[in-house]
Symmetry: D2
Subunit: 341 residues, 4 copies
């Protein structure tokens, strides 16, 4: 059975497993204070061209979002996000659990615009009742977004400019950052992300790691006692080495970018086939997620030989489904799927 | 200077102050265990035609919303509300502060519909990823709404039916309930509210009291240890008598309804004048709040002699403003305002 | 039936009720922005000899503690308090509800010492694992304490010095502050409190008001957007006038101190009688609370004619009870009780 | 350099790494729904002799404690724990962060007694003011405790009986459970733990896994929507397989117990040497942690060749330090340390 269900269906890149093996019996200190964490941090700083960056390793995406957002926001502040944002919809209320509102604004294919953001902030600051409202204290975007779409460098810069005009930090959720960076449809690079964002994370879980996300504070703006906040959120891994070693491997010899590229190449191959065979795209998505409208009969037949994700109901007879490629997707499996289409 | 700024600009109905005076030196037990609270509760049960109701007195509206919602919701649940709801916008994130998301749905002039609610709930329960989402655990409406609009009995019943089909309690914020009940434009009565809602509150602060809101659990459904939750929220008044005495007076000889009616009569008089003089209404609002579009020059001239509320900017030259009447509005002041128009 | 059950069994000082009457129909703006609030704040600043103080009015004690503590603490910080402190034991977890730990230290008759505090802080800061612990971010004391005991000026200054050496703000809960200030057994004055504490509150509920506590930030240290935090806590009263008017009266012509003195005079009279008749004191308490050990038979007989509070079980045959006087206690009632003893 | 610093200084048992390798490229569904998780759960149920147990895998200890405790407690409840408990002291306030108080009671070498617990509960339920207090809603113990001490079966049963008499669930933190079970100084078995506790966790992080803790609800008492609560806490691992595979290996062929035993054997060897050489024990601790009082000179000399943990300052000239063995401790290293002593 072929699977295009998600980008976290395999374990880890084998170089990671090898390194875990090699270092396994070394006795290292805990909580991220080991030399592999230090080495990984240094490599990430270099890749970001941000020598002053503070880097921390957390375990998963929702955990990272909740910890970073909560650590940065003042208590009376909320985080502005697209109404389709992961923090808005798919994290079981993890942000609200920390006491903060997600201030939802409109989106276009998962992206917010500098204009919409500015409109929201202008309106907030001109409201005489704003003392009774939640103050916007951070802006959250993801790149790629929930729909796999990407910001251009210009768009990212404009959003960043609006944020900074209002003295609000910009946070970028990079759960699939590698796939965004490896995609030819945007000019945004990792150093751009580091330049325009105040904090962001480089996703490991969906890009070759067993688990792990690397949080980067880019402006000497790490919240005071951040480690204690990480601990308070239950997000401090005793064997921090696991995360350090993984990111150390991923950021050695360009591995992170190389394996990300595989997902894009495979997705492009698959999209071409869908297009060639007249399938209907639900939306254009340039990265590793492909949203297709299937009629329900077709969907059921396909499901017998390949697994993919239900996305949403289109109408009585049609369903939107998602095919995802990843760092681990093999060309033979893509060819196999194309056969089936 | 005339004021139509809000419905809480005076103190309390004088009968309340008299009663506070008369009972002042009686030594009563604290925290709502006194006989005046008991008497007020009994009168409210009768007015609601709900002999089994549990009644509690809290101090203010946001406090009541946060305490009731938090006490009813399970930890992984949120409260469904109109995107314009008071809990969504104007309570400084008090609901999120308790760890719960406000799940915003569309509205029509501040009202939600049974259809929109059902659509939301159907969609939620058919979503295969719902374990990663906030569960809808309560539905919040207000009557009148933020825009002073009202549900009909049929609408209220339909919303109630949807809630109960999904086993979700319905909560009605009655900060201005008196003005809704006293208005001729709806057939909803207090017993209807008690029948269709699982919990609601009868607003005192905006309807003749110094402060105070009466929470009514109608279905023997008071959350366990509710008083402790009230205390935990900082909402337990030591001298509970103050609230008991006020509601005891308000629910004696129909006072609550009688004074509510004054606001409606005064508002109707004022609306007629606005209409007669060709003013533009921002929206039809049948209760004690009147939303008028003023051109900015006119607005400034009016502000010299009368105070009212800025609502929102309409366009460069026009502003939406609100005139509010209340239990305390005097006809001579309305006439005075009409003169000025 | 005589009552010495608590110091909040009557309504309010009659001058307060008179003033509420006189001002009742004035149309005032809401949320504490009225002139009576302003006047009261100015009088409090003068009484504190602290012209720069920021003053806010909240409704009740637990609410005030939770709001002030939460607004001052960073998210990874807790508040240090005596293990018997009101915030530690009798507020239904209102502090923890805001996400903060109460860091309990030892006490002597309800008081903490500068030495114990310093020991705790020294130990914390020398602990290599402190990143995994809750940081002490505030020190909470009450004056009088839960047991009615009082700090001397020297003790208060020493505690303040320790706090400031560690850059930790000192917060004083003054629910019964009047009774502490009016008592001859300490040299602490209101200006001393303002000098040594970073924030404190002057209790109204237990000292002559219907409700209300005046929070005083003494060092230009009001947390940013404090009003929004107050709102978020459900602690912002719409008719702020009620609180302003009450404190305006209490701080006119020394009323607050005068009525506080009554409680002390009455308590002293009663203590003398207890002592004279050989009753056993549970502890020496110089203010308006008297803790007496009664044998259970005696207790039951007394309860037939006078109400007082159960404090705790002493042993099988004895119970600790509390008699409280207040601003409203009449000498005839004290004489009546003395007759009964 | 030898290290006896902690029991999480190596990676994972090599069988675990082998299995991660073997299964690495299998495409599995996420969030713990894969077959390895299912297999591991079944093996744990068998080891616990509790066929109805619900088993969940979380990542780390603090995360597990916060998630389990928060999911079980009602909002007005707190968790009773020894004042030295991990949740009381060393989790950065993670429990309070979820809104719940840790209700600390006295301990003896880290253990609570059924008597102390009963005294606390009796006192709480006889307090007339308990509505103003935090209700005890769970009892937390750890086995081994913070000091490595162990309950006997009788002690565990007595505590369990007290809990159940008060209808309060008993939760056991088993971060080092293997070391407790493998130790000859107690008769408590894993089925005993499952019988007497309502929920507990089997620690992986400190007993041979890279990370991971297995939560076991033993009485068909899993909180509703537990997975959503896990997600809300940021504790739901996308690649749940990592945890499932590890516990599947640990519970195959008795591996968990076998490797736990190594820590005990090594610790016993080391204790004998300490004892033989006249070192002073800070306390008797039967498991894998050894607390020794060193004079400061000696400590500094030792630190040059071996790493261990600072525990606390004893007096000016002496320090309490901790030596920890683990599943990975090699006899040659213990011999090496003994040489040095």
């Amino acid at each position: 059975m072929l699977s295009f269900e998600c980008d976290y269906s395999e374990g880890a890149h084998e170089k990671i497993l090898h390194r875990l093996f090699e270092t396994n019996m070394e006795q290292l200190s805990g909580y991220g204070s080991d030399m592999y964490c230090e080495s990984a941090k240094e490599k990430i700083r270099k890749a970001c061209e941000c020598p002053d960056a503070d880097v921390y390793f957390l375990v998963g995406g929702t955990q990272t979002n909740a910890t970073v957002i909560d650590s940065v926001l003042r208590k009376y502040e909320g985080v502005v996000a697209a109404s389709t944002g992961h923090v808005s919809v798919h994290e079981a209320g993890a942000i609200e659990f920390t006491g903060h509102k997600v201030l939802e604004i409109d989106h276009d294919c998962g992206k917010i615009s500098a204009d919409a953001l500015k409109g929201y902030l202008d309106s907030f600051y001109s409201d005489g009742n704003r003392e009774h409202m939640v103050f916007p204290g951070m802006v959250y975007i993801s790149h790629p977004t929930e729909y796999g779409t990407l910001y251009s460098k210009k768009e990212l810069q404009e959003i960043s400019d609006v944020c900074h005009a209002y003295k609000i930090p910009l946070y970028l959720d990079g759960a699939r950052l590698g796939y965004g960076l490896a995609c030819g449809h945007t000019d945004v690079t990792l150093p751009d992300v580091a330049e325009f964002c105040d904090v962001f994370y480089i996703g490991g879980t969906k890009v070759g790691a067993l688990c792990g996300e690397a949080v980067v504070f880019t402006k000497k703006n790490t919240p005071k006692c951040f480690m204690t906040t990480v601990k308070q959120h239950g997000a401090l891994l005793a064997k921090g080495r696991i995360l350090g070693i993984q990111f150390d491997v991923l950021f050695t010899d360009n591995l992170y970018m190389d394996i990300s590229r595989n997902a894009i190449v495979m997705a492009d191959l698959l999209k071409e086939a869908f297009r060639g065979k007249g399938y209907r795209f639900y939306m254009e998505s340039p990265t590793n997620q492909i949203f297709i409208v299937l009629d329900n009969d077709k969907m059921q037949r396909l499901q017998e030989a390949v697994s993919f994700s239900y996305w949403e109901k289109m109408d009585e007879n049609h369903t939107v489904v998602r095919f995802a490629t990843s760092w681990a997707t093999k060309e033979e499996n893509v060819r196999g799927l194309i056969e089936l289409l």
